[in-house]
Subunit: 304 residues, 2 copies
């Protein structure tokens, strides 16, 4: 159990790093650098293939440690390898925490009642006798099933000091179809619920441990979402590869660059595939892309 | 790859069983019968604890084989035990398929683009070199992120013969909060999307491989949902423990008891805890509860 609320650990981590970058750990099989090609080898044992995902993520963690506040492993790419992938996931989460990084497990789970409680237990609150080190600091969560289905996750956050990022407005092109059903818009109803349940878990920083995912690609909506959820940590996907700029994300922040994380996954991890960084060894490309992202966001946040 | 579409395998399985019962495999730690108490023992190795979940589900599969068309393992309860739970999940899915049961993986995943494709690959379409036997026949899916995020899953169904059950209207008390945002209601927009993408995957039976979850607890909405999605297999949670009766689910069916599955999880698996079956050995209680459910549904469907 963390005696400090996720809200305050996040606030401190952003202040310490001096930037709000959230490095995605997305070991996308087809995009992995040549050095990890064994992961794509159908003839290799599944365990060996999963080990390559782990090795790639450990290298990214090494790049991120001491430079950014948090990392976001994406569960889907691990689940591809079944139980071997799950083992790699646990090792990656543990390694990131050992490196002093906050871990936001991008699992997008969501279910009802005792099933929701089981998911919360799986990712935030390991059972007695299980290793604590593989718990995430926070996880992403789908609200579609209703506010009552958020409650077991909020309860887990209360008992463990963990946090949530509820999917309010996602960054993908078709996200408005169901999220903007209404009025009242479904995403606004979710935002109000996130704010309300978050009031129960306010930290000394003034932030809540219950956060929201708000796509940076909806730049014109960000100020309204921030106003609707004034104490809610925001997780912003969509920077870089999906088209959002540093300037676009500024309205999501609280004063002094607080209260939000800007995620980049393939823009950093697979920078070698970009025109800008082509020809560099993959890790140099990723390091340079991460430095550029940090500088870009610092610049935009300082300018305001 | 299944050469027969999920739609047609499901239709045949319901006809063969002569009932639409979907037995949930929910190895809920706190509810497991005393015989599996090792699962709750904090001092036991995690692998041994996960083995108890597996053992419980294998017993339920034995009860279900030849009697019902399909089973629905719930991922959350396996994920509690991390990689060991994932291994148990794979073994349970394989055992159910070997027993001739269709397997609907209750994973409620959902994500964008290549991440969605990774989830589809994990549950419907194992990679080359991985064991085919642990793929599900169909999985449950959250639509919150938008119709574009259903597409990678539909593509996986096209290439593998698998199926989906998209969460349109869930059975929990708070499900209306976001699902009925509008008008137009979010759940109706999802239903229309499910129908539209399903048109691409119609089987010889006239049904689609793209199904929908529609809670049996919303009895008054079922006829309208069926009319909105005339060729969509419906998965109905909420029977029994959550309060819906056999008569409630009838409007969801197509003629001759086709086109829908009625799920029961704790009402059967944990029947020993009910007043009606108290005092019986757990498996006798579960067998009797399953028999009663089959008779109840057959009666209601024949009466119409």
């Amino acid at each position: 159990m963390n005696t400090t609320l996720f809200a305050d650990r996040l606030d401190a981590a952003i202040a310490r790093a001096g930037n709000p970058c959230l490095l995605g750990l997305d070991p996308h099989l087809e995009l992995l650098p040549e050095e990890f090609a064994l992961a794509r080898d159908a003839a290799a044992p599944r365990a060996a293939r999963a080990r390559e995902l782990e090795r790639f993520c450990l290298e990214l963690i090494e790049l991120a440690a001491g430079r950014v506040p948090a990392v976001k492993p994406q569960s889907a790419f691990f689940e591809v390898f079944g139980a071997d992938g799950a083992l790699a996931w646990e090792r990656v989460v543990r390694a990131a925490r050992s490196a002093g990084l906050l871990v936001i497990g991008d699992v997008k789970r969501g279910d009802i009642a005792s099933t929701a409680a089981a998911y919360a237990s799986a990712y935030l609150d390991p059972l007695p006798g299980l290793e604590r080190e593989s718990a995430c600091d926070a996880i992403t969560l789908s609200p579609w099933l209703g506010r009552d289905t958020l409650e077991p996750f909020v309860a887990a956050c209360r008992s463990t000091g963990g946090g949530l990022f509820v999917l309010v407005r996602t960054s993908n092109p078709g996200s408005a179809q169901f999220q903007r059903a209404g009025p009242p818009h479904a995403s606004d109803l979710v935002a109000d619920a996130v704010r309300a349940v978050g009031e129960e878990l306010l930290g000394a920083s003034g932030l809540s441990s219950i956060g929201a995912v708000t796509g940076a690609t909806h730049a014109t909506e960000l100020a309204a979402l921030r106003a609707r959820m004034p104490r809610t940590p925001l997780l912003l996907p969509g920077y870089g590869a999906q088209g959002a700029s540093a300037r676009d994300v500024v309205p999501a922040f609280l004063p002094r660059g607080r209260g939000a994380l800007v995620a980049s996954s393939r823009g950093v991890a697979f920078a070698q595939r970009s025109k800008e960084h082509a020809g560099k060894p993959w890790k140099d490309a990723a390091r340079d892309a991460l430095s550029a992202m940090i500088a870009d966001l610092r610049g935009a946040l300082t300018a305001t």
